[in-house]
């Protein structure tokens, strides 16, 4: 945050054209309304690292365990160490020395499991998050006392507080002083500010550069299909088709080839959509004469399988004189669609 002074100076310069009371276009300062204190209280629930915003209350480890088993254990495990649904909250490798130093030494170990309590420096983070977002399927349903109790239980599981600890807006400072990784965060890096200093600086060699171009990592053949058949994940036509990575299905490739591009029938799920798509509804409607007869009348006259062949011919080749003198042009329906439409028209019982 060494850039703060600069940042503020920049902000002061940047704030025009909206700067100053006179900077807003006339009338804009009347848009919106003042929030009441009750409204602000209802939404302003955040808790900062200095515990600004923390509501009063308390809860102990035992009360926390009861709520935990009822509302939290199904995802996080009875002891907060489950990896089934979310990353584990407690356990991992935290020592009394870590707690004394405020730095979790095992974070240097590439193989170490990283639990929430090994990483998080600020107890406010956990209080705030549980209160605003937990339980998973019923966020904001916990009272402040329940949050204190749950957090006491979590801290007890992580050996941060004793079994008889009562967490409250008063004792939370003592608990914060034992957070295992409380000194483990840094913000003196170049990624906080748009003007920050990059930590990786590269040279721009352009020709005959000395590089190690040996392939050191690639996907093994058995993993090529782990994300599904790549042939179905790239445009099925054009210069860059996807690689076929699926094992061949029983029955061979034709089915798989056909699956690449869905047919009309697969994409069209009702006769109405086929009729719409084919342009039939320009002259026909579902009920009643328009230019041509209504489909209700057509279906009444041609109910029964004996009319299938006749209707297919009439639809594809067109005709005139059956329902009136205006000729109907032939409609070149795809065979799947034609089958479906004629089956629908000849169905003896109108659904």
């Amino acid at each position: 945050m060494s850039n703060w002074v600069n940042g503020l100076l920049a902000a002061a310069i940047l704030i025009p054209p909206h700067a100053g009371a006179a900077g807003l276009p006339a009338g804009v300062d009347e848009i919106g309304r003042v929030a009441s204190s009750a409204e602000v209280r209802a939404w302003d629930i955040d808790v900062r690292p200095d515990f600004a915003g923390l509501p009063p209350g308390s809860g102990d480890v035992w009360a926390g365990e009861e709520i935990w088993l009822e509302k939290c254990a199904s995802c996080h495990g009875d002891f907060g160490d489950s990896n089934e649904v979310f990353a584990p909250i407690v356990l991992g490798n935290v020592t009394e020395d870590d707690i004394a130093a405020g730095n979790v030494a095992s974070l240097k170990d590439p193989a170490a499991v990283r639990t929430t309590l090994m990483k998080v420096a600020t107890l406010s983070t956990l209080w705030d998050y549980i209160y605003r977002a937990m339980p998973w399927n019923a966020p904001k349903s916990l009272t402040p006392d329940e949050v204190y109790a749950l957090l006491a239980y979590i801290l007890n599981l992580g050996y941060v507080v004793d079994d008889d600890f009562v967490l409250s807006d008063d004792t939370i400072h003592a608990a914060q002083a034992r957070m295992p990784n409380r000194n483990g965060m840094r913000d003196d890096h170049g990624l906080w500010s748009v003007d920050g200093e990059p930590d990786v600086v590269s040279q721009g060699c352009q020709t005959d550069c000395i590089v190690n171009s040996k392939v050191s990592s690639s996907l093994p053949a058995y993993a090529m299909n782990a994300h599904g058949n790549l042939a179905e994940q790239s445009r099925a036509w054009g210069p860059y088709p996807g690689l076929w990575t699926a094992p061949e299905a029983a029955g061979g490739a034709p089915e798989l080839v056909a699956a690449e591009i869905p047919t009309d029938a697969e994409q069209t799920d009702s006769p109405t959509q086929i009729l719409n798509a084919a342009g039939c509804m320009g002259c026909h409607q579902m009920a009643g004469q328009l230019v041509g007869p209504g489909f209700d009348a057509v279906r009444e006259r041609y109910a029964g399988d004996e009319h299938v062949a006749y209707l297919k011919t009439k639809i594809t080749q067109g005709g005139a004189g059956v329902w009136g003198s205006i000729p109907m042009p032939g409609v070149p329906l795809q065979s799947d669609d034609l089958d479906r439409i004629v089956a629908w028209m000849t169905a003896s019982k109108v659904p």
């Binding site: 929030a35 590439p110 420096a121 904001k140 190690n212 050191s216 790239s234 061979g252 080839v257």
Partner: protein
């Protein structure tokens, strides 16, 4: 569609052009099976017929030309077949996808943008990647409110009607998740650019400048240093925003690519913080609080912290440094024939605009400049193109970007020398695609 003659898109000049890519790939992967032999025979007959032409003597007339296609001989579909338009059925492969096993729940998960098949510098809204922390919601805009409180003269509440009456701006910006390319820190883990780089999208966003709203509320500039942005969904996601970013170019946005935001992208209101990682672009935005300390919220204290080799975590790592990637050809694709290809990709920087993109086809030994397609905008995606005449040799394709601050995108080796391989976030290393003599393109790492 088993009719190979109906397979669209390939020139009908050589017999292999009558084979579907799936069939070609299938044969190369696991040989000629009886079913494939049957298909091959059919394709060869089709090819032969095409070469002979209808009278059996003329060579190589394309049946899709000489036999006028059915769509040229029939009535088209009416207006309003799709009141809200949709892509052609031939584009059904181009969708958002999940990486199997990446997350155990679908509400706290990611779907990736199919960069391998997109063009230009804008992502279609329906293909914008998704990252939700506790599921997505579709909020009634008439009941949505934005509150501004904290170090201001007076806390304010705005309705959507209020916000949409205010002076608006429209800006094109990229949105990249801080965890984009996270799967690739240690080794190659995923096959295609959709999974390596697909937590990246770009849109034109329309809304009200944050600076205007803070001015309206009477921000206390003497004390204000940070903003807290908070969502209205169940997670009520919160992130601390550097006031410098907020006052510079942040937007409270309701518009995306000319329409309202999609629900998955925060309908009816989200924060846009150009150049900053996506998690800070809080969706379903309900509140902005002005403060003098950062908040260390869950997603800046437990997640979105970058583990360094010395065991410390970088907190509030926000800026997306310059990065580029070749999107076609890319991993999991195949070159069907030798000759000219237009290597195409994307470049971007959270600190400014793209100044230069270079492409190497030999794993970084030699670099030549790519063409930047305009417009080149700050904190937006820039499309680049590069001419390549492939003669069937092995190749290692790479791109690297230099941004307007002079920063050059690092090699993977240079990046992990400083950051190690466990930081999860902010992997902006040069990507390598290996093209084999068989035309197959694979994701690889060098060194």
């Amino acid at each position: 569609m088993t009719d190979l003659q109906a397979e669209p898109g390939h020139l009908r000049q050589a017999p292999e052009s009558f084979l579907s890519p799936a069939l070609v790939n299938g044969i190369q992967q696991s040989g000629v099976t009886p079913s494939r032999r049957k298909l091959l025979q059919g394709a060869l007959a089709t090819a032969t017929a095409a070469m002979l032409g209808s009278n059996g003597t003329k060579a190589a007339d394309d049946p899709d030309v000489v036999k006028v296609p059915e769509w040229s001989r029939s009535l088209g579909k009416p207006v309003l077949t799709h009141p809200y338009g949709q892509p052609s059925r031939y584009e059904s492969n181009i969708i958002r996808r999940q990486s199997p096993g990446l997350t155990q729940t679908d509400q706290a998960s990611v779907s990736f943008t199919p960069l391998q098949n997109l063009f230009g510098m804008i992502t279609p809204s329906g293909l914008h990647f998704e990252r939700h922390h506790q599921g997505w919601v579709d909020i009634d805009p008439r009941r949505h409110r934005l509150m501004i409180n904290g170090l201001v003269e007076k806390p304010l509440i705005f309705t959507m009607e209020d916000l949409m009456r205010m002076p608006s701006v429209s800006r094109i910006h990229f949105l990249e998740c801080g965890a984009n390319t996270a799967l690739e820190w240690g080794n190659v883990a995923v096959p295609t650019v959709q999974y390596t780089h697909g937590m990246l999208s770009a849109s034109e966003f329309t809304g009200v400048p944050v600076s205007l709203l803070l001015e309206r509320a009477g921000i206390d500039l003497k004390r204000a240093k940070f903003l807290l942005a908070e969502g209205a969904d169940g997670s009520s996601m919160t992130r601390t925003i550097n006031l410098e970013n907020a006052l510079d170019d942040a937007i409270v946005a309701y518009g995306q690519n000319g329409e309202m935001l999609r629900p998955e992208n925060g309908y009816p209101l989200r924060l846009v913080v150009p150049g900053v990682q996506g998690v800070s672009w809080v969706k379903w935005l309900r509140r902005l609080e002005v403060g003098d300390q950062p908040w260390a919220t869950k997603d800046e204290a437990s997640h979105y912290v970058d583990l360094m080799p010395d065991g410390s975590h970088r907190q509030y790592s926000s800026i997306q440094e310059a990065k580029s990637v070749i999107t076609s050809p890319s991993g999991g694709q195949k070159l069907l024939k030798q000759g000219y290809y237009c290597i195409s990709g994307l470049a971007w920087s959270g600190r400014g605009s793209v100044s230069r993109v270079e492409v190497s086809v030999d794993g970084g030994r030699n670099w030549r400049p790519a063409r930047l397609e305009g417009p080149v905008l700050p904190k937006a995606l820039t499309r680049f193109n590069f001419d390549w005449n492939w003669q069937g040799d092995n190749a290692l394709l790479q791109s690297r970007v230099t941004d307007s601050t002079g920063y050059l995108q690092p090699s993977r080796t240079a990046l992990i020398a400083v950051r190690g391989t466990r930081s999860i976030y902010h992997n902006n290393a040069i990507q390598t695609w290996r093209v084999g003599q068989d035309g197959e393109v694979h994701n690889v790492q060098l060194g």
